[in-house]
Symmetry: C2
Subunit: 172 residues, 2 copies
DNA sequence: AACAAAAAGTTAGTCGCTAACATTCACCGG
DNA sequence: CCGGTGAATGTTAGCGACTAACTTTTTGTT
């Protein structure tokens, strides 16, 4: 993973072959793929799905689906410590600079999306509404995260806040 | 394109090689890639970006970003005739049944997203808010479209309506 | 009929990724 | 200290998406 991140920084993602990563790590290409299911998995991995889903389930029942998803995500992110967010940022910065990785990010978000949708259904949304709210929320969140990663502002929380503010309809 | 859609229906997307598509079309693999930049481009192509962007620019200035994006898309889709929507549906149905294509859909949406974001900025949004609202809207829209394509209900308009209703915060 | 431009073919290669099988390594009881 | 077992790693070979460089055919026009 270290080797991969170094190379991505040096030459960019697309110009880095899996073989080169393996080489720098002193390992075979096959070994690389045994540890990571794909080249993009080095950058895109988030184990936060259950946290988010739980936080959503704890949202007040009175809130509509979109608001509940928003509130849940905001709550979940408060538990992420600063050192972790620095790492997340380094990864996302590469993603934001590499158009070909946008698809990978979305594909990865599919699981998170399903988890959110399920949590919303548990709260009483229709499955259709749940899915829609989940994908809208994640779309906004990913967009805000990428922008945060690419900019200078250190605070992850405020990046998320601005995404949620827009979703809540408060932005002109 | 016809050859590709036939094969996707018969064997599924992943099980259809580019060579097989070219073969059925009576053409070389190279020729296929000269007409389509990638295998997934056969399914995912939408020339509606300018339409949507214009419709958004025509939204009342008083509306916040998200609401304007919603209203613009709804307005733009009313101009799509029924036969076109049948074709769109056939394509999207394959996308919805093929997880590996989800990323492709998102990658393709990037252009539409940029167009929407730009239109929102023209209306006075900050570029950050514009991007966020655009990606949320497209997330919701894509999600609703995929669900529509996979279901039985013929009316595309109402699928879009439900996406917009959720975005507007009216869904529990 | 001649010719320029556009489209299609040929060949060969890169890169991501997988399968099947062989090998080395690390740890653990005897 | 030995032997053995399971995990981690290596080897080879191959598929499929895609690209590059170059040649050939087709097409439309004068």
């Amino acid at each position: 993973m270290t080797a991969a991140l170094e190379l991505f920084e040096e030459r960019g993602y697309d110009a880095t072959t899996a073989a080169a990563i393996a080489d720098r790590a002193g390992v075979t290409e096959m070994t690389f793929f045994r540890h990571f299911p794909s080249k993009d998995a080095v950058l895109i991995a988030d184990p936060y799905d259950p946290l988010i889903a739980d936080a959503i389930r704890r949202q007040p029942a009175s809130r509509p689906a979109l608001a509940a998803a928003i509130g849940g995500i905001a709550a979940a992110w408060t538990s992420v410590p600063a050192p972790v967010s620095a790492e997340v940022r380094a990864r996302l910065r590469i993603v934001s600079r590499t158009p070909s990785l946008r698809g990978a990010l979305a594909r990865n978000s599919a699981q998170t999306e399903a988890a959110i949708a399920e949590a919303l259904v548990d709260r009483g949304s229709s499955s259709s509404d749940g899915r829609i709210a989940a994908s809208a929320t994640l779309g906004a969140l990913n967009s805000a995260l990428l922008e945060w990663a690419d900019g200078d502002e250190p605070d992850l929380g405020s990046a998320i806040d601005s995404a949620l503010r827009v979703l809540a309809g408060g932005a002109s």
